[in-house]
Assembly symmetry: C2
Homo-oligomer: 336 residues x 2
Amino acid sequence: MQISINQLQELVEKILDSRGFSKPQRDAITQNLITAQVSECHSHGVWRLLELIKNLDKGMLNPTAIPQVTHNKGAVIRVDCQMTAAQYGHQIGLPLLIERAKEFGIALLAVNHCIHFSALWVELEALAKHNLVGLAMTTSHAWVAPHGGTMPLLGTNPFAFAWPRTNPDRPYIFDFATSATARGEIQLHARNQTQLPNDVAIDANGKPTNDPNEALKGAMLAFGGHKGTAISTMIELMAGPLINDLTSQESQQAAKDGAALPYGGEIIIAIDPEIILGTDRQSATQRAEDYLNQFSQADVRLPSERRFDARDRNRQRGTIDLDDTLIDNLKTLIRN
Amino acid sequence: MQISINQLQELVEKILDSRGFSKPQRDAITQNLITAQVSECHSHGVWRLLELIKNLDKGMLNPTAIPQVTHNKGAVIRVDCQMTAAQYGHQIGLPLLIERAKEFGIALLAVNHCIHFSALWVELEALAKHNLVGLAMTTSHAWVAPHGGTMPLLGTNPFAFAWPRTNPDRPYIFDFATSATARGEIQLHARNQTQLPNDVAIDANGKPTNDPNEALKGAMLAFGGHKGTAISTMIELMAGPLINDLTSQESQQAAKDGAALPYGGEIIIAIDPEIILGTDRQSATQRAEDYLNQFSQADVRLPSERRFDARDRNRQRGTIDLDDTLIDNLKTLIRN
């Protein structure tokens, strides 16, 4: 069915209110989910509320805690989410990160002890709107085997980057899992009884498999072989021990049964081109524009362009398409 | 033949002295090449001198200029190499980068207008020895087509990361091209008249090819499809316009015929775990050790381990194996 963006927002707020979330956490979560849904980033849209409430019911999401700034010195900020949603931590940490990046040229935000269920592009778009370059990484649960191995030592570990462009609504921005495919894709193949593509998973014996059910008993593979594995391992270290938070393996061990959303950390680095470039900023920015425009001229789609198009379309008409069953399922989350 | 490390070092110094290099630039280049050669990182070892001298002869390497610190404020340092070797810029920039990272927690070094012919792990190992986490990126020449396109808009754009470990000689460190294979590999296949593996190159018409000669007329591909392409594009922006230096395309256009070594920039980010972690540093570091040790226990080789083994072996015996023809070729570079 078609639902107005406003109605969907009200539904999300109603669910979170009925579950005892504080208003600021409710707003942070709602804004994130609606932003993703309006952009037709379905994997991180409102259906995530189903998982989020499961985490809440299992005691792995604190609806009323307030994130605390635990470190704020030099170019480093740390925010302890106290098991609230990562977005709530961003609301407190991002303004400080922006301030420090503009002061020192580069700064780092560690978001600790958060429940993570969202796309990273949302917070990086916020940085790009402030004309900052951004990098973000987070761990998840250890479902991915390193290249050359069979033991799942890595999470799906997303990696995201944003570069502000002349059109503030269309930065150069990517955000992808470092696994060869999304875990949700494998689950979808299992449900539809269809075969997996090659090179995305191994079975419990470490043999390559196209059978989604065998894959779920085995492990996923990293994208790009040993190179993707190396990047994913970097993410484990950067969003894990570097900020004194959990690796994907530790997060999985900490998860209570049925609480599927990772509990752990996120690291965000912001860089201010203005400080680096000074009076050369305009010409350098223009060269970047000219460079990126060549991709479009050569009919190569830049990351996120499909998403931008969807957002423009949905914002203009004020409504979005949503599966009837999903809306019904969401409504059952309201506790009277 | 076997040659002692000392003899090889003397040969390199003799070549550079005979070509009019200043002593500090000579030492910076020599140290880098010997370090790579001793580690059996052949692709970045002493054979690179052949290309380096070609660049010199074409007027695209300044043997006597002195890199200048052009920006040194907050957490950002910029060093203008004035068309000297990147290593010379590191000698001046890295101590400042280390100082700033330890002061602010994170810092950024931009090396501009350098001739780049070396592996990035050398400078990152230097950071790791100071217990810093490091990231490095540089552009090259535009030989790589983005996923979904045929026009070579990307360089082979290496990406490197280092994480200090308990054994200071064996950090977690990777350094790889974001192209599916090295350009030198394709040239080697052409010379040996052997076929390329799948998914590494396209011909001049944009069709996948296994023929190395067709590949050299066409374009290389990025590793990991659209994800590797996105990372390579990030590197173009970070090591190019962000630090007001050339993209791979611009560097290629600026290259005089026969001068194959890229002229452009490198970006290095250093992070001090001690500032982020404070009193938790030791326990967090130990968790990282335990985590990485699981790879080894599962018989998964970590990046650079082969290189570390070679270095230990060669240092112990004080000699390295080097091709006779290569030594003869190097000797012809000495100008009497």
